[in-house]
């Protein structure tokens, strides 16, 4: 039987503020447990929350970036439940009136078509702390609580159930990830938990309007796990229904080691969160001035940038899309293109050598040993004929290993191209003289032997002979 997969994602992205959403404690990652939690984060008696305006500014930027309505009045609510890492016994979140309303995100499908994914809402909330079970840290059979993360600002971005495959879900999640980093509201660091995803998954017969019973897979912190978890869950649901079973609405966890999802709690066991407006915080009012200031310096967004790269630089859709993956990469490209006046060449080098080197070293563009200026310098030497394409790759490698810029490498290694036709002719004469058999073959019509001669010349010149000149002179001499 055929089934249609229906997926909606909830993404928790940590906002890049210096201090917490309701207190002045710092948000830096990795400090000693409980050293970045103040009286407010600890939920001591009598303390009160005060909203961090920076978190609001960042949420507003996101809303604008997905062309969503920004609520002029939104309300913080308390989500009540007991857990040791939740100091107040409730989490301050937004429930009925979120700060960001309906918006959209576009993803590119495998066949190149663009699909619009609805964003239902995005709301501000505080993160909880962490429970520590490591015996080395807290002792055998003990659980420790680290409240450093408690009160860290989060933006929860909720999508419509518009995603139809694990691949679409990943494309959407990547797009949101790209967006939050573009507009500078989150570092998006997945290892540190700055970008966590919950997937709501259900299946239904194609053509059916009504949604099937859904399960929610919690806390996925990599795109690969997101894809695999959904894949597994869809297969599990199909098998269960086709074998006559009944799905229960429940929360599940993905076990990456076993590559499976497991039930955590069912709807019946679920907490009744007893949401109600937080009486410690006034409704959040956003006026036109705040909105304008918060969004006035929004950078060019990825979709617009991609379009522009395509139109302005004549890049292929693929290259335009690749080079706009991150703002840093796009800026790098534009710097090289501007400096050299050779956007296509710049795109090729960045998409080829540079990306390969970055991937191999597992580093980001910002940490690249070869700066945009250095790559531009290399391309210029290639353009003005100082070096050949082949030598250029060698120069790139030397730059990557820290041997200086292109000119320094070319000079110190003597890699300038040989363009003196007299010198090239002399080399060719010697080679022709040394290989009479191959000359015979060529003259008998075996065109392929030409390549042998080119190879010999390049070998003799250690790759430095100008290839165009080599071709011309060789052809002339062999024909003679």
């Amino acid at each position: 039987m055929q089934w249609e997969t229906v997926i909606g994602l909830e993404i928790h992205t940590q906002l890049a503020t210096q201090s917490k959403i309701f207190s002045g404690a710092p948000t830096a990652f990795g400090a000693e447990p409980n050293t970045q939690a103040c009286a407010i984060d600890l939920g001591l008696p009598g303390v009160l929350p005060v909203l961090n305006a920076e978190a609001v500014r960042l949420a507003v930027r996101f809303g604008r970036a997905i062309e969503a309505e920004i609520a002029s009045r939104s309300v913080f609510a308390r989500k009540n439940y007991f857990y040791p890492d939740l100091p107040k016994g409730y989490q301050i979140s937004q429930y009925e009136r979120p700060i960001v309303g309906r918006g959209k995100v576009e993803i590119v499908l495998d066949d190149g078509t663009i699909k619009r994914i609805g964003v239902t809402r995005a709301h501000l909330e505080e993160d909880a702390g962490k429970s520590l079970h490591d015996p080395g840290l807290v002792g055998d059979g003990q659980t420790g609580v680290d409240l450093n993360r408690a009160g860290t600002p989060l933006l929860e971005i909720v999508s419509e159930p518009d995603l139809r495959s694990p691949q679409e879900a990943v494309a959407y999640a990547r797009k949101v990830h790209q967006l939050v980093r573009y507009i500078g509201i989150s570092d998006g660091n997945m290892q540190e938990g700055s970008f966590r995803m919950d997937a709501n998954v259900s299946i239904r017969p194609p053509g059916q309007e009504e949604l099937g019973t859904r399960t929610e897979i919690k806390n996925l912190n990599s795109f690969r796990y997101l894809e695999k978890a959904i894949q597994f869950e869809v297969e599990r649901q199909v098998e269960l229904i086709e074998s006559g079973g009944t799905l229960v609405q429940e929360t599940r966890l993905y076990d990456a080691v076993k590559d499976e999802t497991r039930g955590m709690r069912s709807k019946e066991e679920a907490n009744d969160y007893r949401y109600f407006p937080d009486p410690d915080l006034l409704p959040l009012e956003i006026d036109a001035e705040f909105l304008a200031t918060a969004t006035s310096d929004l950078p060019e967004l990825p979709d617009a940038k991609r379009e522009r790269f395509h139109a302005e630089y004549g890049l292929s859709e693929y290259d335009a899309s690749l080079l706009t993956t991150s703002r840093e990469l796009a800026d790098y490209f534009e710097a090289v293109a501007r400096e050299t006046g050779e956007p296509k060449l710049a795109a090729n080098w960045i998409g080829g050598e540079l990306m390969a080197a970055l991937n191999k070293a597992e580093i980001e563009i910002g940490q690249s040993q070869v700066t945009a200026r250095m790559l531009a310098g290399l391309i210029k030497r290639l353009q003005d004929g100082t070096i050949s394409g082949k030598i250029a790759k060698q120069v790139f490698e030397s730059m990557w290993s820290g041997e200086g810029d292109a000119d320094q490498v070319i000079r110190s290694k003597g890699l300038e191209q040989i363009t003196d036709s007299g010198a090239i002719e002399a080399m060719i004469d010697a080679i022709i003289a040394a290989n009479p058999g191959q000359v015979e073959q060529y003259r008998a019509g075996k065109q392929k032997v030409f390549g042998f001669f080119v190879g010999q010349v390049m070998k003799a010149s250690r790759g430095k002979a100008n290839p165009q000149q080599v071709n011309e002179i060789l052809e002339r001499k062999l024909r003679a």
Binding site: A39, L42, G43, L44, P45, G46, V47, L48, P49, V50, L51, R78, N80, F82, P84, P87, K88, G89, Y90, V145, D272, R274, Y275, F276, P279, D280, L281, L282
Partner: protein
């Protein structure tokens, strides 16, 4: 000494008739000698009080002083005091020592006031008789078989018995005004947001407001001058200019329009209390005020609305007391759930548990709309009643409580009867309005309080009205037998 007003004490300190250390020692000695009959203090500061009195004396010598420099006061044990136990009347916080001062504690200390100690209260401010305290009930100085009212019962009893010149209190549904009325002292609950809630342990955040209990409106004005004002640490605190309350005390009240809500003079009002209130209102007429009857049609709904809204907020506010980080923890918990259940069952008293249960219920899925949401709508109607009333009159007067102080234990088994004691006070909290209770002629030897409710931020007007009345009457000066 203990019968002097704050203005007189301040003048004496300045003239060095006695030092702040002597004054403080005098009050500490009275507490030591007399409080065993009242149980109005949970903790007495002793040495710490004398140390701050010494600092006040130094300031007095240097001349760098305000009206409260060297004046002893007491704080309700709901205000956090850095390094000094803050119990909130609960076993849950019996060992809790806050690492910070409440804003009010900080402000009054900065003004030079000397903290004598922390006063007894209903557990987490939930009660109208001070009988829910983990530290035992407080008795009424006028009759020690009777309750002092609550939840600021310790503050009211201590002020009435002259164990301190003035004390702070908090008022969520009448917790300053009702004990002030029952103990014969002056108690003001300012507009919601007028005084910061930072460091004041929350009961019901949208209703809680700090205020003062003192023997006179003038004494209260001296404290409120220091307490009122915006605090960036409390998002609900009002950024509205604070007038000088002492300056406004003597303002003329001729021509002022006083409204008497007919709903506050109906069935359930004790006839003795009614007679005293009518006498007081006649006094205002003699002072030139104009009296008219008004209606607050939704006021009968205020008690049921309050007992939805306040428990709802309290059920969430008190969730932090879970035995995990601080406060009471049960012995040998078997697992996490056991830790939660027993710590809270053993750490909280019956009334607190009852309200947590009610609050949890009214916020639950399927009940939220019928209870919490409906209550919020009615709350708005109650506020609208007042808005309309203040288009016709300047202030509203009536009894603070339907009866005088009732005997200890009389209502402990009947929560609804207990709750009805706040029938006249709750509406001001629901609407967020300022209100004051002023002692008038006692009924059968027990104090009676006149409640005056004003429009938003009209505290100066309320203190002024109370002061003008106290200028021509002596009820507020009467001391209970044995505490003169």
């Amino acid at each position: 000494m203990e019968n002097k007003s704050i203005a007189q004490l301040a003048a004496d300190l300045r003239l060095r008739t006695y030092s702040s250390v002597e004054l403080t020692r005098h009050y500490l000695e009275r507490i030591e000698r007399l409080d065993s009959r009242l149980n109005s203090f949970i903790s007495v500061a002793g040495e710490a009080a004398l140390a701050s009195a010494e600092r006040a004396d130094l300031a007095l010598k240097s001349g760098d002083v305000g009206p409260l420099t060297g004046i002893p006061i007491a704080h309700k044990d709901i205000f956090c005091t850095q390094g000094f136990k803050t119990s909130c009347g609960s076993r849950m916080l019996d060992d809790f020592i806050a690492p910070y001062d409440a804003t009010l504690v900080e402000r009054l200390a900065a003004a030079g006031a000397v903290m004598l100690g922390k006063t007894n209260m209903d557990e987490f401010a939930m009660g109208s008789s001070n009988e829910t305290s983990f530290y035992g009930p407080v008795t009424n100085p006028w009759d020690q078989t009777r309750v002092p009212g609550g939840s600021s019962g310790g503050s009211a009893a201590a002020v009435a018995a002259r164990l301190c010149p003035a004390a702070t209190g908090t008022d969520t549904g009448g917790s300053i005004r009702q004990p002030a009325s029952l103990c014969g002292v002056t108690g003001i609950k300012p507009t919601y947001g007028r005084c910061s809630r930072w460091g004041m342990i929350a009961f019901a955040s949208s209703l809680d407001q700090a205020g003062v209990l003192a023997r006179s409106a003038a004494d209260a004005a001296f404290l409120l001058d220091e307490m009122a004002g915006f605090d960036p640490r409390d998002s609900t605190s009002a950024d509205v200019p604070v007038p000088d309350y002492v300056d406004a005390l003597d303002d003329d009240i001729a021509g002022l329009r006083i409204g008497l809500p007919k709903e506050y003079f109906g069935a359930g009002l004790d006839s003795g209390v009614a007679a005293s209130i009518h006498d007081a209102i006649s006094e205002y007429e003699r002072l030139g005020a104009r009296i008219s009857e008004i209606s607050l049609p939704n006021s009968p709904l205020s008690v049921p609305v309050y007992y939805v809204v306040a428990p709802a907020e309290c059920s969430s506010n008190l969730a932090r007391y879970d035995g995990v980080r601080y406060g009471y923890r049960c012995g040998h918990p078997a697992d996490l759930e056991d830790l939660y259940k027993r710590s809270r069952a053993e750490g909280f008293g019956a009334e607190v548990q009852r309200r947590i249960m009610i609050g949890t219920y009214v916020l639950s899925a399927g009940y939220y709309d019928a209870y919490y949401l409906k209550a919020q709508k009615v709350r708005q109607l109650i506020a609208d009643d007042f808005r309309r009333a203040f288009e016709q009159v300047d202030v509203i007067m009536g009894p603070t409580t339907p009866t005088t102080a009732f005997p200890l234990g009389a209502k402990t088994d009947d929560p609804v009867a207990m709750y009805l004691n706040d029938i006249y006070t709750i509406a001001a909290n629901l609407a967020g309005l300022p209100a004051i209770s002023v002692p008038v002629e006692p009924a059968e030897g027990l104090p009676v309080g006149l409640q005056i409710v004003g429009d938003y931020f009209q505290e100066a007007r309320l203190l002024n009205l109370a002061h003008r009345y106290q200028h021509v009457t002596h009820w507020h000066q009467a001391a209970p037998a044995g505490f003169e």
